[in-house]
């Protein structure tokens, strides 16, 4: 048996990416299948410097050294908000009605630990469940498939069998009869056997893409993600992650670098998705916000409310959603953080209802019974 035959046999027997619901969707209309991409910004993004409330006179007094001056804010949006100057591609999407920022959002997690905050965001329940992610519950419900662009499965996608991980490798690939011998040995270890079969199918799908020097960078991972999703039987949703947002000090320079990385990566994602972009929704979230007031080291500490960014051809953008709570002392949460006026999980449920046609009750149940919002998120 030659290599290709052997591997394609494995892939077919697993039927990894094939989903009946989608095959139907493609023939029913001319639209590409609805893709969903979930991006977690780990470390707590300071939304006040991303979707900037230029109209709020409370902002600059809270941030005498790190607040951006008016002349730096050349990307105005709806309701007097401005987009951070480093988000150039995102701003062009905003102008094309493909970016929808939602301000003052929180998951309801009210402590200040990153790791618990991320786990909470990823499980999407009122408790932290390390083996039960919201996105895996959604794909189980709709019988869809997912790929995590990571070395190991993040919590968001734990709990489903239709999830794979992909991360470029630097090593030379082994020979087929080695894999066959391993399949034989793993009969006694079902977990390893499943991972091996999944790995073989995945390698078949990416054509065994290897790590180059620039890999490991967000842009390369985003490109790989787009390529995987735009193959004919490619996964319906994907998860990407980007760390480095914990800006306790030197926030301005760090945010500039981080946001440029994010912006370039998202542009690469759009490019590699090709036609699929037109029916894609990208959700960018972070575990919580940062203090409204700057700290003593030109940074900000762990806070509460942050922003949620929706992007993509499927999104009804060009507006800013979310009720602004204000930045006066009495308007802040615990007198220090941006107040969250709407709930991350309610927005996710609303999006799943509109983008994946999950009935309102079922969408609500995915997040332990949250209520949906009466806003049009997809176009």
């Amino acid at each position: 048996m030659d290599r290709r035959q052997f591997i394609s046999g494995t892939a077919a027997s697993l039927a990894l990416w094939h989903t009946q619901s989608l095959a139907g969707a493609v023939t029913a209309s001319n639209k590409t299948p609805p893709k969903l991409i979930w991006i977690v910004l780990r470390g707590a993004l300071d939304s006040l410097e991303v979707v900037i409330p230029t109209f709020d006179s409370g902002l600059l007094p809270l941030r005498p050294t790190i607040g951006l001056a008016k002349n730096q804010l050349q990307q105005p949006m709806h309701k007097g908000f401005a987009l951070h100057p480093s988000l150039k591609h995102l701003y062009s999407w905003y102008q094309n009605k493909q970016l929808l920022p939602i301000v003052a959002v929180g998951s309801g997690f009210n402590k200040r630990s990153h790791f618990d905050g991320q786990d909470y965001l990823e499980s999407g329940l009122n408790i932290i469940a390390h083996e039960n992610g919201w996105l895996s519950r959604a794909i189980t419900l709709k019988q869809r498939s997912a790929i995590a662009i990571a070395q190991s499965t993040p919590i968001s996608l734990r709990g489903s069998d239709s999830v794979n991980t992909w991360y470029p490798s630097k090593l030379k690939h082994s020979s087929d009869d080695l894999y066959q011998s391993l399949q034989k040995m793993y009969q006694s270890d079902p977990r390893l056997l499943k991972k091996l079969n999944d790995g073989l199918a995945l390698r078949n799908l990416t054509g065994g893409q290897k790590l180059t020097k620039s890999n490991g960078k967000f842009k390369t991972l985003a490109t790989g993600c787009g390529q995987l999703m735009s193959t004919p039987d490619g996964p319906d949703c994907a998860m990407l992650e980007l760390g480095g947002w914990d800006t306790h000090n030197n926030q301005n320079n760090r945010l500039k670098r981080q946001l440029t990385t994010l912006d370039d990566g998202l542009a690469a994602l759009k490019l590699s998705l090709g036609d699929y972009w037109s029916n894609t929704a990208v959700v960018i979230a972070t575990e919580f916000g940062r203090t409204a007031k700057e700290n003593g080291t030109k940074g900000t500490d762990h806070g509460t409310g942050s922003a949620l960014l929706l992007a993509g051809g499927a999104v009804a953008g060009g507006r800013v959603l979310g009720q602004w709570p204000g930045l006066a002392q009495h308007q802040l949460f615990e007198q220090r953080d941006l107040q969250a006026t709407s709930n991350t999980f309610s927005w996710l449920a609303t999006l799943l209802n509109q983008h994946w046609q999950i009935a309102p009750g079922a969408a609500s149940n995915l997040f332990d019974g949250v209520s949906l919002y009466n806003e049009q998120l997809v176009s």
Binding site: F115, H130, T153, N249
Partner: protein, 440 residues
């Protein structure tokens, strides 16, 4: 004859052992392990924190001078190489040394007090925490370990305490302020754990208690190290977890850390993590309770706690063997081959490709310690490819007596598959990737 108990002793508690060592272990596995609870010794020729900080000062000075002339200045190769050697050293020593259980314990605490090499400063000094604060306190009291770690410049810089100043301190008037980062992680990750029952007020109290704990760069013959800046310390008493601390100056933070080290919540949190690391992804509460009890009897003496772990029958009988982490896998593979990696850069690259580069966890929580963090399909494929590469490399030249160890380790069926492989390389790859070698 190599016994099953000897294999458990070598693989679960340590990183595997040579044929010769396994024969010794087979006589009395528990005693064999206990004798390995000895000090860890690093390569003494490598630079210290003071050396690395000196490099940094020198680099920053030259960079400034060159900038004035409109030129750029790159870190000298020798500096970068010194940092790389430091990062690889504990893995290299863990491969080479016979007291394997102590090296595993070092890795446990190095990950418990995880610092990441990000930026030129942390890349230079991150590995010195393990060598200078953790290694020397590995088999002593948890209190001494905790205080040494928190005072070490690598931790102070990593979690931004070096510039933290109490809001009523003298420095606060010059625009400095309190930074809660280190205090929060001490409570959440290093001592009582996230469910330890503390509040935001406790975080602030501890941050005030350790305000002024800072880093001194080498200057005029004075070595780099910890320094207490009185002018940055928040004056007045603090209340942490219901107890008030009226001490002045540095004594206040020290008393707080001492109380945290002796807190019952810390005993439980760290004991649970120890059992998860050494024994099982699902820590047995009976075993955890034994460690907690020993912790309380000995005021957190880590050697006594490890002896209890070795002596408890629950450590030897578990339902599911742990999946090796990439680091476990790489170290135990080299040990199986009786080989020591010659190139530190290649070793770091390997660990990076497999997802566990030293000092790169990227989070103060460190790397994950259960199978779900490491058993992704793609991660398994990378392991296979690396195993095949190692099995075809010159490191296999010293290979002897491996069959006896494999006979004892593998099921008869898997042993047959390994021995019937088409080539020596393939046979060794299969052995390394066998379920029995992947787990411990």
């Amino acid at each position: 004859m190599i016994t099953k108990q000897a294999l458990i002793a070598a693989n679960r508690f340590g990183y595997g052992a040579s044929h010769q060592q396994l024969l010794v272990a087979s006589k009395d596995p528990k005693q064999w392990l206990k004798e390995q609870l000895t000090a860890v010794e690093f390569d003494p020729t490598l630079p210290s924190l003071n050396d690395m900080a000196g490099y940094l000062v020198d680099y920053q000075k030259k960079k400034k001078e060159q900038k004035k002339l409109g030129k750029s200045y790159k870190r000298p190769k020798a500096h970068i190489d010194a940092a790389r050697r430091l990062m690889a050293d504990s893995t290299i020593q863990a491969i080479a040394m016979d007291n394997s259980i102590s090296w595993r314990l070092l890795d446990f605490f190095s990950n418990h007090f995880s610092v990441s090499a990000q930026g030129p400063q942390m890349s230079a000094i991150a590995p010195t925490l393990e060598r200078e604060a953790i290694g020397p306190n590995l088999l002593g009291s948890f209190n001494d370990l905790l205080i040494s770690v928190i005072k070490h410049p690598a931790m102070l810089l990593y979690l931004n305490n070096e510039k933290s100043a109490g809001n009523n301190s003298k420095l606060a008037r010059k625009g400095r302020g309190l930074n809660e980062n280190l205090a929060r992680e001490i409570l959440e990750l290093h001592t009582v754990g996230v469910n330890g029952g503390y509040s935001q007020q406790d975080v602030i109290a501890l941050a005030n208690g350790i305000s002024g704990w800072s880093f001194r760069r080498p200057n005029n013959g004075k070595p780099a190290g910890f320094t207490f800046r009185r002018r940055a310390h928040e004056p007045g008493s603090q209340t942490l977890l219901g107890k008030s601390y009226r001490q002045q100056g540095i004594k206040q933070g020290e008393a707080m850390l001492q109380a945290l080290a002796s807190h019952p919540g810390t005993a439980r949190y760290v004991s649970t993590k120890l059992v998860r690391h050494f024994i099982s992804d699902m820590p047995d509460p009976v075993l955890v309770n034994k460690l907690v009890k020993r912790w309380q009897q000995t005021n957190g003496n880590l050697k006594q706690i490890m002896l209890t772990l070795i002596d408890s029958q629950e450590s030897w009988a578990v339902a599911d063997n742990k999946l090796k982490t990439p680091r476990d896998f790489v170290i135990s593979s080299f040990r199986l081959l009786n080989a020591t990696p010659k190139k530190h850069r290649a070793l770091i690259r390997t660990l990076s490709t497999l997802g566990q580069q030293p000092f790169k966890a990227g989070s103060p929580a460190g790397y994950g310690d259960s199978a779900s963090h490491w058993d992704g399909a793609n991660a398994l494929m990378a392991r296979i490819d690396w195993a095949a590469q190692l099995a075809g490399s010159r490191y296999t030249r010293g290979l002897t007596n491996i069959e006896q160890q494999l006979t004892a380790l593998l099921t008869p069926q898997n042993y047959k598959t390994v021995m019937r492989a088409e080539s020596r390389q393939q046979s060794l790859t299969l052995a390394l990737m066998s379920p029995e070698f992947q787990r411990r």
